[in-house]
């Protein structure tokens, strides 16, 4: 153990002994050119024996298990502590989206504007009349639609009655949804709002912009007993048509998705849209 190693810095010759030789036997360099080699391995090897062998199977399995348990608890904890705030945010956001369809975008106090403007959250009955929805405020109108709960929000703006209908469908990459607000005649579009989960920014994502949504107000929804409101390829909309709306440039599939969504959802609402009477309270 006592032997140390000395290396000649000039030629790399390694000498073993208690101290460096006076002259390098290879290149004749003086003693000062030698430096001691401290072996990293020798030092590190001793304490390593006390530490667990990190490559053993047991260690690997235990390590993975502990890691997973820690991470799982951490995520559950974070999710539970933040849940209330998140739900409140989602409800707030849904209300803002409904208000956006009524051209009340970017409200500072969404909850109070909502309770002031929206008079009722109703469900459409088979004969087209409305009845109060008795449940908690809903944030997922896709599952409500699939269950056959056809929501209609009754709003009042400047003494005028408006109806807001939630819509959902598929875009290019994921889901798209929106709210369409109709005038009291249940035919003329008063305002519209679209959003999406993952459409391409700058292309399909433009459906969430006002540039596209501003093309809707004033258009008509129903012709006879069919949904006639249509999104067509950009530039193809007939200027004189009351039913055709230009799509988004370069986003044909998303625009088609919007068209399909409007058609599918509003077709289910035809009884309401064409009913002579929707109930005295509404």
């Amino acid at each position: 153990m006592a032997t140390k190693k000395f290396k000649c810095k000039v030629c790399g010759y390694v000498h073993e002994g208690d101290k460096a030789p006076e002259k390098c036997p290879m290149c004749q360099a003086p003693q000062s050119e030698f430096e001691e080699i401290v072996e990293a391995g020798a030092e590190a090897a001793a304490p390593a024996k006390k530490v667990l062998n990190t490559n053993s199977n047991v260690y690997t399995i235990v390590y993975a298990a502990v890691m997973v348990i820690i991470v799982a608890f951490l995520l559950v904890f974070v999710s539970q502590t933040l849940k209330e705030r998140q739900t409140a945010n989602v409800i707030n956001d849904t209300k803002q989206q409904i208000l956006s369809a009524l051209n009340l975008r970017d409200q500072a106090d969404v909850a109070s504007t909502y309770s002031m403007v929206i008079k009722a959250d109703a469900l459409m009955q088979a004969n087209g009349s409305l009845q109060d929805y008795k449940g908690e405020f809903n944030t997922s109108y896709k599952s409500e639609f699939d269950k056959g709960n056809l929501h209609v929000f009754v709003a009042e703006i400047d003494g005028q009655k408006k109806y807001v209908i939630p819509m959902n469908g598929l875009g290019l990459w994921g889901t798209i949804w929106g709210y369409i607000a109709l005038n009291e005649d249940r035919n003329t579009v008063y305002g519209i709002y679209f959003s999406h989960s993952s459409e391409t920014p700058g292309l399909g994502g433009e459906i969430a912009g006002t540039k596209f949504q501003d093309r809707f107000p004033g258009k008509l929804v129903v012709n006879g007993r069919d949904v006639a409101l249509k999104v067509v390829k950009y530039g193809k909309a007939d200027k004189s048509s009351k039913y055709e709306v230009d799509g988004v440039t370069g986003a044909t599939i998303t625009s088609t998705g919007v068209n399909t969504m409007i058609n599918k959802v509003l077709s289910a609402y035809i009884p309401f849209l064409t009913a002579a009477n929707v109930g005295s309270n509404y």
Binding site: T54, V71, L74, Q86, D93, G174, G202, T249, G250
Partner: protein
């Protein structure tokens, strides 16, 4: 040591930029750069997550079993991304809506795994932290440059505000539709790499 830390931070900003030299993270660079805002938020999120996961892996590096080290790195990154996304949903709902899928995409960003495997497994927490910040900002810088050009010429806006005056459109100017298509991001990144190689001759290959 201070010098080494300095290098860990500065190198990835330009000379050894993860996007330009290592060609990592190109996929997300194409996806989020059609507009400036998501590009910046994405750049910052990646910076925070690379730095944090670098520190955690660096602290654990001597205990991680070699055979499952990639999985351990992935678990750490995925957990961090999930937590960041939950926090955004609770406290910055607007930003989380803006980012939507991109938060999840951070998990698969090659820069993260690249830095964890190449740097954090061998270096101390402080150096790893600086390395993470440097790489994140290097990535963010490229995103911002590409997004700036794409949004300006593709939509005529910056941060959503109209920059090219209406008069230009009336005079016949048109937005370049190719700019908002993903291939344009690749072409722009290619141009930046070209400039970068011209400035850093030692990176040129024969």
């Amino acid at each position: 040591m201070a010098n080494k830390n300095n290098e860990a931070f500065k190198q990835p900003l330009w000379v050894n930029n993860p996007v330009l030299v290592q060609i990592l993270g190109i996929c997300s660079a194409l996806a989020v750069t059609a507009q400036l805002k998501p590009a910046i938020v994405m750049g910052l999120s990646v910076t925070v997550i690379v730095a944090m996961s670098n520190v955690i892996i660096s602290l654990l590096r001597n205990t991680i079993p070699n055979r499952i080290r990639i999985i351990i790195q992935l678990v750490v990154v995925a957990a961090l991304v999930t937590i960041v996304s939950e926090i955004l949903k609770a406290f910055a709902y607007d930003v989380s809506v803006q980012l939507s899928v991109y938060v999840g995409l951070i998990i698969t960003n090659c820069i993260l795994m690249g830095r964890l495997e190449a740097f954090a497994m061998q270096n101390g927490p402080w150096a790893s932290f600086l390395d993470g910040i440097g790489n994140g900002l290097g990535y963010a810088a490229i995103l911002v440059v590409v997004a700036f050009v794409r949004e300006l010429f593709g939509s005529g806006t910056l941060f959503g505000f109209q920059v090219i005056p209406q008069a230009c459109y009336e005079a016949g100017y048109l937005n370049n539709g190719l700019m908002i298509m993903p291939p344009m991001a690749l072409i722009l990144a290619g141009c930046i790499i070209w400039y970068h190689r011209a400035k850093n001759k030692d990176l040129q290959e024969n």
